[in-house]
């Protein structure tokens, strides 16, 4: 919270008519999306035309509740997708609608991507006036203004909207998260998947890739995959969250996670293909919609988009029974500077916060059945005191 904010209200802002000054607009929910006339970040209304090579999305940032795999109700901050919602309804729709993880962003390389973020406020913490941002974690050659890191740029206050713009310059597996008071807002859950698909998609680089889907512009089909799944590492310190909703001082340095998760759930919730039951405290809004069940048929290449937005610990993931081929790290294809393929086979990948791996499981010749993906730091196979669960999911290979 910035106390100085109150001093600005009522100030008349005189803007220098400088060549370099962008124009300024008014407060309130305000989507900026070329060709969208009614502010819902879509082109569904008559008379609206989607410009070529353009994608829009509207996220709300606020708070809400999720349910841990042992039943513990957990207060959180997070994002929800309000794309398609009329501006007048965005505040109500976005309030207490935080999702964990946030809505996945998938955008094709080279697309003009307009992401509007509306801060709907924290209903359970009316004493707070925290702004929020979106940090496009890992996007190359970023500008400070769209980096979402609040010390070097701007963040959006309650009740208003800020639109980010990127050209999605390079394909790969990224993440996004709020960067305001990052230790707190990220521990609280303002985290999500962000993927950029390559221009090579839908083309045939002369190899056997029936899906014509690739992780990167590899030129040789070596990053071909058939199905892709998010594997995003999260963990919650329930003590931190419980103190938060109780409006107590927060222990930053003593933060200690006790709910290790994949895509916002602990096992066995990870394999539930449906949204988890919506907590009544959310007013019945679904808050955990991303399943971690991985399914494929024998012969398919399965892309695991592995990322970590843990705020405390490193984690190591393994797949029991299927070799893991690492083809990318941090949204870069593993290639030498002279083009040599540096992908490698392994049985585990280790991630600190802010790292991603692209892992392909080739299921050719794999016996149909259920395989497990889990954290090899085995104490993480727990949901707090429930010592069976945690950071684990299943890979179901069928004929």
């Amino acid at each position: 919270m910035r106390p100085s904010r109150s001093f600005w209200i009522g100030l008349s802002i005189i803007l220098a008519a400088c060549l370099l000054s962008p124009s300024w607009t008014v407060a309130g929910v305000n989507v900026q999306c070329p060709g969208d006339n009614d502010g819902d970040a879509q082109w569904a209304t008559a008379g609206e035309t989607q410009p070529g090579n353009t994608q829009c999305m509207h996220l709300a940032a606020g708070d809400g509740f999720v349910t841990m795999a042992d039943g513990h109700l957990q207060y959180m901050f997070g994002f929800s997708d309000v794309t398609g919602v009329a501006p007048a309804d965005v505040m109500n729709t976005g309030m207490l609608a935080a999702q964990f993880p946030g809505p996945t962003i998938k955008v094709k390389e080279g697309t003009n991507f307009y992401l509007t973020l509306t801060n709907v406020g924290m209903v359970m913490r009316p004493d707070l006036f925290d702004p929020h941002t979106v940090h496009f974690h890992g996007f190359p050659n970023a500008a400070s203004i769209f980096d979402g890191e609040p010390m070097a740029s701007i963040s959006i206050n309650m009740g208003s909207s800020l639109t980010y713009y990127y050209t999605a310059p390079d394909p790969g597996t990224y993440m996004y998260h709020c960067h305001v008071e990052a230790t707190e807002h990220m521990q609280m859950g303002m985290l999500a998947n962000l993927w950029v698909t390559p221009l090579q998609d839908g083309t045939d680089p002369g190899t056997n890739c029936a899906s014509q889907k690739f992780v990167y512009n590899d030129g040789d089909g070596s990053t071909c995959y058939d199905v892709d799944f998010p594997v995003q590492i999260h963990a919650f310190d329930s003590n931190f969250h419980d103190l938060h909703v109780a409006v107590q001082p927060l222990p930053f340095a003593l933060m200690k996670d006790n709910y290790p998760m994949l895509n916002g759930r602990g096992y066995p919730d990870t394999v539930n293909t449906a949204a988890l039951p919506a907590p009544g405290e959310n007013g019945g809004k679904d808050s955990q919609i991303v399943s971690s069940l991985i399914t494929a048929t024998v012969g398919q290449k399965v892309l695991l988009r592995v990322s970590s937005l843990s705020t405390v610990d490193y984690y190591t993931l393994t797949v029991l029974g299927i070799p893991m081929k690492v083809v990318g790290k941090d949204a870069k294809m593993l290639r030498s500077s002279t083009g040599t393929n540096l992908s490698y086979l392994t049985n585990s990948v280790t991630l600190g916060g802010g790292e991603t791996y692209d892992v392909i499981l080739d299921t050719a010749g794999v016996t149909p059945g259920t395989y497990f993906l889990y954290a090899t730091d085995l104490n993480n196979l727990s949901n707090d005191s429930q010592d069976y669960g945690g950071m684990m999911t299943e890979i179901v290979i069928s004929l």
């Binding site: 600005w8 100030l11 003009n112 970023a142 639109t163 310059p169 802010g354």
Partner: protein, 432 residues
């Protein structure tokens, strides 16, 4: 979460740094340290400060009769030099130095300890001699009860320079315009307090860090001037600076108990070497096996060299704020008389800023925000906002992405964090 207090201390700490931002530019930003072939170090004690006001007993290596410092003096030597380090021990416990990555180290004097010869407590001496045979980034630290002594601060960096100036190794892939040390560590004050209370062999098995540091400082002290008078035992700062297109050499050392995932905002970095060895398929091939990353772990005891650059390419708008008189873009804008900035890509030349920024009362402003989205431009900000970016630079946070580590105990922001400053090509850099 309230952070009023932190803002105040951030402002205080940065005042000195901003003063220096307006200074003149050294030819190549050098890493602070001591050069030569013979180094006289003294192990002694002193107090180090954390940015939220903590003060903790520490042990460290001093340059000669100077103050104890953490990290110890960065020893900068030339490849092939025969290096001698004479250690005098002013502490009440035996002390030594090991040089991981150096071969043929000859220790003389003192008495034999577990890992090397040691200088006896209270005045003992020992000497180490080795030939700095390979260029690179290395660390040195105490080989005597290192679980306590390294935690207490007896550690530093060793840089071996190749024959070619402006390179980290014998290959142009390691060429840089600016180089910076990132000596990443963590601290459990309970151990320091135990030593201060007279327990010289405290239990370190329950180590639990609550401070995280770069070059011995917690943010925002990381960004204050080197040699700041109010940090007498922590002389090294870290605030990388560059112009678009320039190359920064990151010399990163894992110097703590834990690994730290170091994230560079703004762009990827290319890892060119690990533990003093270029990632080469063959010596002539440079860092061809080096991978690009946006987060690289500093693993305890190991080093990483990486090259970071930033061009702003493919941004989709002209971050210099160029505008064609008739709305031209690209070559047409050049033809219309609007020149490219040095290194600017033609593709985005004169392309307009893509969105309209919200009105000011709906925004919270960062202390490093210039008020303008354009490089080298200043915008109008409400009174009291911004102020720490006098030339309209782009700033990017470089920090531990185990975000718990960017606090000073329970105060955010702090810890293992600094800001990269990218200045307009016309603005001289000052590397405080």
């Amino acid at each position: 979460m309230k952070r009023t207090g932190m803002k105040r201390s951030l402002l205080t700490a940065l005042a000195a740094a901003v003063f220096l931002l307006c200074g003149t530019m050294p030819a190549i930003a050098a890493i602070n340290g001591i050069t030569g072939t013979t180094f006289n170090l003294t192990a002694k004690s002193g107090y180090i400060s954390t940015a939220e006001g903590g003060s903790y007993l520490a042990w460290g290596y001093a340059n000669g009769n100077g103050l104890m410092q953490f990290p110890g003096p960065t020893l900068i030597v030339n490849q092939g030099a025969v290096v001698t380090v004479n250690l005098t021990n002013a502490l009440a416990v035996p002390v030594s130095i090991v040089f991981p990555g150096q071969t043929g180290v000859i220790a003389s004097g003192g008495s034999q300890g577990m890992l090397t010869r040691e200088a006896a407590a209270a005045g003992g001496t020992v000497s180490y001699t080795f030939t700095a045979s390979r260029p690179g980034t290395y660390t040195y630290y105490s080989g005597t009860q290192p679980d306590v002594q390294v935690e207490m601060g007896l550690a530093g960096a060793l840089i071996v320079r190749p024959g070619t100036p402006g390179q980290a190794y014998d290959h142009a892939d390691s060429a840089f315009d600016h180089e910076y040390l990132f000596f990443l560590s963590d601290m459990d004050p309970n151990i320091h307090d135990a030593v201060a209370a007279g327990n010289l062999t405290p239990d370190t098995t329950s180590h639990f860090a609550v401070y995280w540091l770069i070059n011995g400082r917690t943010a925002p002290d990381t960004m204050a001037a080197a040699g700041a008078a109010w940090l007498p035992h922590q002389p090294y700062n870290i605030m990388p600076m560059m112009h678009p297109g320039e190359r920064i050499l990151i010399r990163m050392i894992g110097a703590g108990r834990d690994a730290h995932p170091f994230h560079t905002h703004g762009n990827h970095h290319r890892i060119i070497a690990r533990d003093g060895r270029m990632l080469s398929s063959a010596p002539a091939n440079g860092a061809d096996l080096g991978e690009q990353a946006f987060t690289t772990s500093a693993v305890p005891g190991s080093t990483v060299d990486a090259i970071y650059t930033w061009t702003g390419d493919k941004m989709g708008w002209d971050f210099y704020g160029h505008a064609g008189p008739g709305g031209e873009t690209g070559q047409a804008c050049v033809d219309a008389g609007v020149a490219l900035a040095a290194g600017e890509s033609l593709a985005d030349h004169c392309k307009p800023f893509p969105v309209t920024l919200p009105s000011q009362e709906t925004l919270t402003f960062g202390q490093f925000y210039s008020g303008s989205p354009f490089l080298g431009a200043m915008g109008t900000l409400p009174p009291g906002e911004g102020g720490f970016n006098p030339n309209g630079g782009f700033l990017f946070m470089w920090h531990s992405h185990n975000e718990k580590e960017i606090v000073n105990f329970d105060i955010f922001p702090g810890g293992l964090l600094t800001m990269l400053l990218i200045e307009h090509p016309s603005v001289p850099l000052m590397n405080p």
